[in-house]
Symmetry: C2
Subunit: 208 residues, 2 copies
């Protein structure tokens, strides 16, 4: 299989972390988002939305949306809870992540790192306040649970960690959310963990 990805995308990092932890081999194709490669016809044929990551299967079928890719890759593995109710809990966290973390903490971080803070003005302040609320919800849950779903490490943790561990980049000290902070260390202690886009500088991210 082939993964179309951009090195600075935390949505893309989720998928690479899951692939690493599942021990799945794949070919990686870098899409230089900031050079417009996401809008080229050959990429739009794979994902009409023009976003990474996209997973292309060996039969040519393409899967978009990072959390849907995680569900596909981890289906039938230890990274997805087997009990139906736990599976539903996992889905709730995956949707929470795409509604209350990625467009909030992720967007705020992106605007700050790429010098768009002034341009976004009041909207940035709203997202930062909202990000703190979301982190507080996570902190409350993780104070009582080792992982998001029934103390079993799953793709919900992988998805949440992708942007969650980068809060400091958005000017929100993760140390203020001690349970989230400790959970990040537990995620990082999982077998075959690999580091994400936090390891790159803003310059490296923008030039691809």
């Amino acid at each position: 299989m082939r993964l179309y990805n951009y090195i600075g995308s935390a949505n893309g990092y989720k998928v690479e972390l899951a692939l690493a932890q599942l021990g799945v081999e794949y070919q990686r194709v870098e899409i230089a988002i900031f050079q417009g490669e996401g809008q080229r016809p050959e990429f739009l044929r794979r994902n009409p939305v023009g976003r990474v990551p996209v997973l292309e299967l060996d039969d040519g079928g393409c899967i978009a949306e990072s959390n849907a890719i995680l569900c596909h890759l981890a289906s039938g593995t230890h990274l997805i809870p087997a009990a139906p109710r736990d599976y539903t809990r996992m889905l709730s966290w995956l949707f929470f992540e795409q509604s209350e973390i990625e467009p909030v903490l992720g967007s705020a971080r992106f605007w700050i790192l790429t010098g768009r803070s002034a341009e976004r003005g009041a909207e940035l302040d709203r997202r930062l306040a909202w990000a703190r609320k979301s982190l507080a919800v996570l902190d409350q849950h993780l104070a009582k649970n080792a992982f998001l779903v029934e103390n079993q490490y799953s793709i919900a943790d992988i998805a949440m960690y992708a942007y969650g561990h980068l809060a400091d980049d958005a000017g929100i000290p993760l140390a203020e959310y001690p349970a989230v902070h400790a959970w990040c260390r537990r995620v990082e202690a999982q077998p075959r963990y690999i580091a994400g886009p936090g390891a790159y500088t803003a310059d490296a991210l923008l030039t691809g």
Copy 2:
């Protein structure tokens, strides 16, 4: 089971539409979001995020996130595609809906209906332009497919329709997206269809 909902929520409407089409009986509890009922301790115990809808099962367990509730309710029914690849496609559309439609078209509609347009300024313009892009992606797909996943009506259609059919409320004429427009009529022709929050005036929505 019991559904905590707010009459003006299109996320909540999704769940009521699915319940109606599945013929599931439930008790409905109205949460007056604009009177702060979503932030009361007894509601936060059910969903720490403070949002509707929340489905409370007979054993007291609660499920948050509208699309996770849909997956739970429709599990094993005709509203979820059986083939694994089609299931993944359904998930991709559900995540697309929560990333590219609900926070875009849904937020723009909400700001316009509740008189927040000036306050949101440039951010509203961004969301409206983004909503048009998302609708164009949908239109392209629905020009070639009767429904979102393999021509089988599913919870992906229910989720997408909830905000999708309300584009006119955000000042985007749905008639400009003829395939989306025609698909809305197909959704409305499904057995046991019920109408959504578009049937209420802004005044009715705000006073609950």
